[in-house]
């Protein structure tokens, strides 16, 4: 470089100049950039033939460009235009409101306005109170107050940088929430912005003003009071000016909607200024129907503050330990021989006292809970207080008894407990004047039926009641040895229940207990001799290799270990008949069934493991002889086809294909239809069948990778804890995950008032969405079957037990009734 004509340059500056002069990018970088640029130019050349006639057309593209939906060619043209056109760039930056096609401003009617204003008062009040209470006033600092989910900054280079609660906000950067996320952000002027999911904004400060540039989504703004300047919210088509108000702004592809909760806002659009008051709403486009202010703020996290308080209370109450398990009972030996129903609960006095105290603390701290409890609490307080007072007289355990009466009917219930101090009889007569009470040294018998109480009291007069030595006593004593929490047992053989007799059921025993702060539920059914019917199919607990082919994404999984595979084949034969829609079997069906059964092992699983449609069913059967199994299946199909053809119907289609050294088979309905296709193959001693070959391949990959459902944390967390290493059968469901989107879709078409039968009852669609994963295990041993699950049904079970609702107790004890799910560990 020739610098001779100048005075000597500062050597550092000269060095920098020289380095820049010599700074040469490599050819590969240049050519790669050129290739990309030329592709965009070519596209823009083509796009240029379509109509972009001037600044109005470019400005009309800005919303799509912001939303990232503009085709690359148009984006290139717009980007270039924004570089060179100051007017359009100001619109893009939100400094000037664009002048879109004239649209009619809509306002809700007065009635709706005041109704919605009243409706949102609670949400608004909560928002303001919550923000002020939790975060105080202005701090001069812009930061993330709270995050639920993910919030990130879109950096200047287009990358995303996650932000955490408490983190300062970068100046000028866009803050954006991810799906299923929301955030509370405090700005420098003390205003609080709540962002809904998939929303983004940035701020621009100038002189005394602060502008929130809402790029997308919805925000609720609680504007701080200002002495000077304004807070503005700018969208692509309007600008909102406020001081000290609460309002929401929704910015979408179709336009914007402003809803005012509190105070007054001025909305500038199309060179016109509109003043909105609480309950007012304004849309900038005819394509946006006016909604309600309530709907526009319904997503606010503060709206659910009551729910959060209740959740907090529930968690607190769960921390209160239940009484310790009991490993023996002094009362059990004193019972009369004719005892047919036995229930046992621990004395919950200390538990109730702690619960009451904790509940009181939460009520004192939460006005929302107090209001809720004053209207919904009813007589629960008084009832709990009576129970707690009664428990102070009684020992560690209270048992509930039922005696066999004439004609197999059960007499009324009676209760038995040890006494810790005198005065219980007087207490009971005062609280329950109609109750019968019989006191014995150290013991009290009481209940609503005097005859039953007298019968129990007479047994107490003997050294041993006669219950010892009965098989029913032995079952209960065994339960104590394993630790008892709440227990309910019934000797059905003495109760002349026709249904139970037909099933050969002899007794039923349900237990719920807390182990390591987790609730366990277990129900055992004992049979008289061999287990009959379906109960008899189950084999002793054994390993289930079939589950190795089921992925953690499965929504419904069943697995069985069977004593006799013929039982499965019988069932499959029925399904097969229904499958082809005929319900007809071949004449030699029994022989074919035996042929197929001879090749099968003793284990299978059926699951739904993939998309809902076509149904991603997956059947895994243990097969001892794959060749014989395939031959038997072929014979079954041939026999079916012969039968179908004889009846003038189309036969099933079959096919065989070899891929990557593995043979895949197909059996399908006569007419091509993905629902009537079944593909299967044999691998490692199992038959793997599903509706598509892809699903089978995925099953094989799951097995090979060792990533099956039995390794998933969700599944493992739900497994009941006991001494069994295996199951005889299991049912696992995670339907909520799959059905929630459909429930939401259906729910959007059902008016809120029509849900729950229109009577304010539970919303079944919401219940579907809320379903949590559940695992029920079953163990078959000799003449018993035990089912077990983790869950917390204490309240319901206790309520039923104290109310003497035996069926209710059984119902709540059976895990299948708890499809709402178990508590996660």
């Amino acid at each position: 470089m020739n610098l001779e004509s100048f005075e000597p340059m500062d050597p550092r500056l000269e060095q920098a100049v020289t380095e820049i002069h010599n700074d040469e990018p490599d050819t590969a970088t240049i050519e790669a950039a050129a290739e990309r640029v030329w592709a965009r130019l070519a596209a823009a050349q083509h796009e240029g033939h379509e109509h972009i006639r001037g600044c109005d057309d470019f400005q009309a593209l800005i919303p799509e460009y912001r939303a990232g939906r503009l085709p690359i060619a148009r984006a290139t043209l717009l980007k270039d235009h924004l570089h060179e056109c100051v007017a359009c760039r100001r619109v893009y930056e939100g400094r000037v409101v664009a002048m879109p096609v004239a649209s009619q401003t809509r306002k809700a009617s007065n009635t709706v306005r005041w109704a919605t204003a009243a409706g949102v008062l609670l949400a608004a009040g909560l928002t303001v109170w919550f923000a002020m209470d939790q975060y105080g006033g202005r701090s001069g600092r812009a930061f993330i107050q709270a995050v639920n989910g993910t919030v990130y900054e879109v950096t200047a280079d287009g990358n995303l940088r996650p932000l955490a609660s408490g983190q300062d906000l970068p100046d000028g950067g866009e803050i954006r929430t991810a799906k299923d996320s929301d955030a509370m952000v405090q700005l420098r002027d003390g205003s609080v912005v709540e962002l809904r999911e998939r929303s983004g904004f940035s701020t621009v400060a100038s002189a005394n003003d602060l502008t929130i540039r809402l790029n997308r989504g919805s925000i609720i703004v609680q504007a701080a009071k200002r002495r000077t300047g304004h807070l503005y919210v700018a969208t692509t088509d309007c600008r909102v000016a406020v001081t000290g108000t609460v309002f929401s702004v929704v910015s979408g592809v179709k336009g914007s909607r402003v809803s005012v909760v509190e105070g007054e806002v001025h909305v500038a659009q199309n060179n016109q200024d509109h003043v909105l008051h609480p309950g007012d709403q304004m849309a900038t486009s005819l394509a946006i129907e006016p909604g309600t202010v309530r709907d526009d703020v319904a997503w606010s996290r503060n709206k659910d503050k009551l729910g959060q308080q209740l959740d907090k209370l529930r968690v607190s109450l769960q921390q209160v330990p239940l009484p310790a398990m009991r490993y023996s009972s002094k009362l059990l030996d004193r019972l009369p021989a004719e005892t047919v129903v036995y229930g046992s609960i621990p004395n919950l006095g200390p538990y109730l006292a702690q619960t009451q105290a904790l509940f009181g603390q939460n009520l004192a701290q939460s006005p929302e809970l107090r209001a809720f409890w004053s209207t919904k609490g009813g007589d629960i307080d008084r009832t709990v207080e009576k129970l707690r007072a009664a428990s102070e007289y009684l020992g560690d355990e209270i048992v509930m008894l039922g005696f066999a009466g004439e004609n197999g009917q059960m007499d009324g219930m009676a209760f038995l407990a040890e006494t810790k101090r005198d005065g219980f009889a007087e207490f009971l007569k005062k609280e329950l004047p109609g109750a019968a009470v019989e006191m014995r040294p150290g013991l009290v018998a009481f209940g609503p039926h005097a005859a039953s109480v007298a019968r129990l009291a007479s047994a107490l007069d003997k050294p041993a009641g006669g219950f010892q030595g009965t098989p029913f006593y032995a079952r209960i004593a065994e339960a104590y040895r394993n630790g008892a929490g709440m227990m309910l047992a019934a000797d059905l053989s003495q109760m002349h229940n026709p249904q139970a007799e037909a099933q050969g059921v002899r007794y039923f025993l349900a237990e719920q207990k807390e182990v390591n702060k987790e609730m366990e539920l277990r129900a055992t059914v004992g049979f008289a001799g061999e287990r009959p019917g379906i109960a008899g199919w189950l084999g002793a607990p054994a390993a289930m290799g079939s589950l190795d082919y089921v992925s953690p994404e499965a929504t419904l999984v069943t697995g069985f270990v069977v004593k006799d595979p013929k039982a499965i084949v019988d069932q499959l034969s029925t399904v097969g008949g229904n499958f082809v829609g005929r319900g007809e079997g071949p004449a030699n069906g029994v022989a074919l069934t035996k042929e197929l059964a001879a090749s099968l092992g003793g284990e299978f699983s059926l699951s739904f493991d993939g998309p809902i449609f076509p149904p991603s069913w997956k059947l895994i059967c243990e097969v001892y002889d794959p060749v014989a199994a395939q031959a038997a299946l072929q014979h079954v199909v041939e026999a079916f086809n012969a039968e179908l053809v004889k009846n003038g119907k189309k036969p099933l289609r079959t096919a065989t294909e070899t891929a990557e050294g593995r043979t895949y088979y197909m059996i399908a309905g006569a007419d091509p239809n993905p629902i009537t296709e079944a593909h299967y193959t044999f691998a490692d001693g199992y038959l793997i069948a599903g509706p598509t070959r892809a699903l089978i391949s995925k099953a094989l990959q799951t097995k090979m990778a060792g990533t099956s459902i039995t390794r998933s944390s969700t599944f493992l967390a739900l497994e009941p804890r006991d001494h069994y290493a295996n199951y005889s059968a299991l049912i696992y469901e995670n339907l909520g995950k799959t059905l929630a989107p459909f429930a939401g879709l259906i729910g959007s078409f059902v008016p809120p008032q029509a849900r729950g039968g229109g009577r304010g009852g539970p919303d079944p669609l919401a219940a579907i969405s809320d379903m949590k994963p559940l695992l029920i295990g079953a163990y078959a041993e000799g003449d018993t079957i035990t089912v077990a699950a983790n869950g917390n049904m204490l309240a319901k079970g206790m309520s039923n037990m104290l109310g003497g609702n035996l069926l209710g107790v059984i119902g709540s004890a059976m895990p299948m009734g708890q499809m709402q799910g178990a508590r996660r560990r």
């Binding site: 500062d10 700074d23 950039a33 990309r36 130019l41 050349q45 240029g48 270039d80 570089h83 056109c85």
Partner: protein
């Protein structure tokens, strides 16, 4: 500003592809020297050729295409640098140095030539666009004063005086930036 009606504009520039093939390297390199990174240089390259594509059909013919594109690249790159910095321009007669960065950096950092390069690029973006263009063409692109004068429709003497004053000013700014490390 005037906006090209792309619907009624003349058919795609038949020579655009040839023009792009012949000059894209020149444009990219010029842009790269001023912006200091390939991404920005790519943006500049796109801007320059997009503007060529949108030229009015009746626009005056370009006598020296290479020089024109070279100057376009320098200006577009300086525009981009200015946008990134989002700062006001300093007029030519404003002689007092303006601190773009906090002073009193550590000597170790200040002496790093990479940092001075970045500082120089930032300083150029703060200059009057015409002066920045002149400086870039003289010192980054290596053009001599007569050629710069011809391209910018001025005299070689004006170019020399302007460059001299600019150099002096940048040296003062550099010393201030170094915070005593000089």
């Amino acid at each position: 500003m005037a906006v090209v009606d792309t619907a009624t504009a003349r058919p795609p520039e038949p020579d655009l592809e040839r023009m792009f093939k012949e000059h894209h390297t020149l444009v990219f390199r010029a842009a790269y020297r001023i912006t200091g990174n390939a991404d920005d240089a790519e943006d500049v390259m796109q801007t320059v050729f997009l503007r060529m594509m949108k030229r009015e059909p009746g626009a005056e013919p370009i006598a020296n295409l290479a020089s024109f594109l070279h100057r376009s690249a320098v200006n577009a790159a300086l525009d981009l640098a200015r946008q990134r910095q989002n700062i006001r321009n300093i007029p030519m007669d404003e002689m007092e140095p303006v601190l773009a960065e906090p002073a009193f950096r550590s000597p170790e950092r200040a002496h790093a030539s990479g940092e001075i390069r970045e500082w120089l690029r930032g300083a150029l973006a703060r200059l009057n666009p015409r002066i920045a263009e002149m400086f870039s063409m003289r010192f980054f692109e290596g053009k001599d004063n007569p050629e710069i004068a011809r391209l910018m429709n001025t005299t070689p003497g004006t170019v020399a005086v302007t460059l001299s004053r600019t150099r002096d000013r940048l040296q003062k700014e550099l010393q201030a930036y170094m915070g005593g490390a000089a």
